[in-house]
């Protein structure tokens, strides 16, 4: 069955460092993926979309990569700030099909 994993439930880093979150998939060939941010008690908020033919996408301090050989996406936050503390969700999708969300990684940026 399709399975999506995110590298860890929780990740703690120091302010100013780069946070790297991992999303892996098995038994699946997604055409694209999206990353969302979710704060406690709130709905997810869209951050970035990357398609299978794109290696890398950037938006301000955010960068996402998509490696179809490794079946993996990496999500980076550079110069991390305490305000970046949240749960980050990856979601894989194919055209005409629904997203499948990963379990999320809870990021804590320590001052």
């Amino acid at each position: 069955s399709q399975k999506i994993e995110q590298n860890s439930e929780a990740l703690n880093i120091q302010e100013g460092k780069t946070a790297t979150l991992t999303c892996n998939y098995t038994n699946y060939s997604p055409a694209y993926l999206q990353w969302y941010r979710q704060d406690p008690g709130r709905g997810p908020v869209f951050l970035l979309l990357i398609r299978e033919n794109e290696k890398e996408k950037r938006k301000e301090r955010l960068k996402v990569t998509f490696d179809t050989t490794l079946k993996q996406s990496l999500f980076h936050i550079t110069a991390s700030q305490p305000a970046d503390s949240a749960t980050y969700l990856c979601a894989w999708g194919n055209y005409g099909q629904n997203f499948v969300f990963g379990p999320g990684t809870r990021l804590s940026v320590l001052p």
Partner: protein
């Protein structure tokens, strides 16, 4: 900025009672989704509408859950009877269309507690 509206924000109900959630998507969004999110997990799709039609309800427990979007605008999700295991966050989302990787806009969710 347009937002997805949901109500109520919180609901406490006893098991075997009926409960209903309401969602008003962003104007012009044809696709509407209902998700269930258990604490510590990612959202799980329950049902998806394209306009007023259900296009995917394969994960909806149809013996107790029902959903409708009568005029292709707002939507209601109902649970009857509620069970203890239904305690979760119920999220509504909308997007412009289904057959493209459009971003989904989520509402604030309804936190359901079944006692």
């Amino acid at each position: 900025e347009a937002e997805v509206a949901q109500s109520p924000r919180y609901k406490i109900t006893e098991k075997s009672q009926a409960v209903a959630f309401w969602c008003d998507p962003i104007s012009g969004h044809a696709t509407l989704y209902w998700y269930r999110q258990i604490l510590g997990q990612g959202p799980e799709l329950l049902v998806q509408f394209q306009d007023e039609s259900v296009v995917d309800d394969s994960q909806l427990p149809k013996d107790r859950f029902s959903a409708e979007r009568l005029k292709g605008v707002d939507s209601t999700l109902k649970i009857q009877p509620a069970e203890l295991g239904d305690s979760a966050m119920y999220l509504c989302a909308s997007s412009l269309a289904r057959d493209s990787p459009y971003e989904q806009y989520f509402g604030p969710g309804t936190r359901l507690t079944v006692t």
